[in-house]
């Protein structure tokens, strides 16, 4: 499947791009699976997403937890805890 991935703040800097489309194996069912898959690709993703305690995720522009399901039609965003206001 092909998923749209979006990155912000220092996660964007570590990945080295603000967005990308990616083909994913069928066993990626949840946000948690997706992070594990990305971290297995290379150390760039590992450095950006490996510490799950500081990674926040939105699916289709809504905050979600790690157990949230993902499908190939989704836009999935990764970012550190937000600091607006």
């Amino acid at each position: 499947m092909t998923m749209q991935l979006v990155y912000f703040s220092w996660i964007r800097e570590r990945v080295g791009k603000s967005e990308e489309s990616m083909q994913l194996p069928g066993d990626v069912k949840t946000v948690d699976d997706l992070i594990d898959h990305l971290c297995s690709i290379n150390e760039v993703y590992q450095a950006a997403l490996g510490n799950k305690s500081v990674v926040r995720v939105a699916v289709n522009q809504t905050h979600v937890n790690l157990d949230h399901p993902v499908t190939d039609a989704d836009e999935v965003a990764f970012f550190p805890p937000v600091t607006g206001g």
Binding site: F8, A58, Q61, H63, A77, F79, P81, V82, T83, G85
Partner: protein, 148 residues
Amino acid sequence: MARISVQREDFQIADEIAALRGDRTDMGAIVTFTGTVRDITGELKAMTLEHYPGMTEAELGRVADEAEKRWPLVGCRVIHRYGRLEPGDNIVLVITMSAHRHAAFEAADFLMDFLKSRAPFWKMEETDNGGQWVDAKESDSDALKRWD
């Protein structure tokens, strides 16, 4: 008019209040909160706010919806700036209007607490030593608990 604006441009508080009031006379209380770029140490040159276009507006709208559900507001306005801002510049404006002051004060406080922990903004501080991303504060997520 739009309740939510996410923009580079500055805002004028008096103009925003006037636009929100219109011809209405059924409110007895108007509360505004303005957040500005703070420089305590004198070392900050600028603060650049990055955001997630689309989600930012959606999230601010959800927070405003929730405030309107909890308090009898007759008006509600949120403006959040992004881009490169300098010390003293405005960052965020919240206006709440209600018949009575308690609802307006509480709703504005609620909006700021939720905005800080939900709206997808990230701040980078720029000093002579370069840029540094601002860490989220534990106290900001703790602040939500009093609204449970």
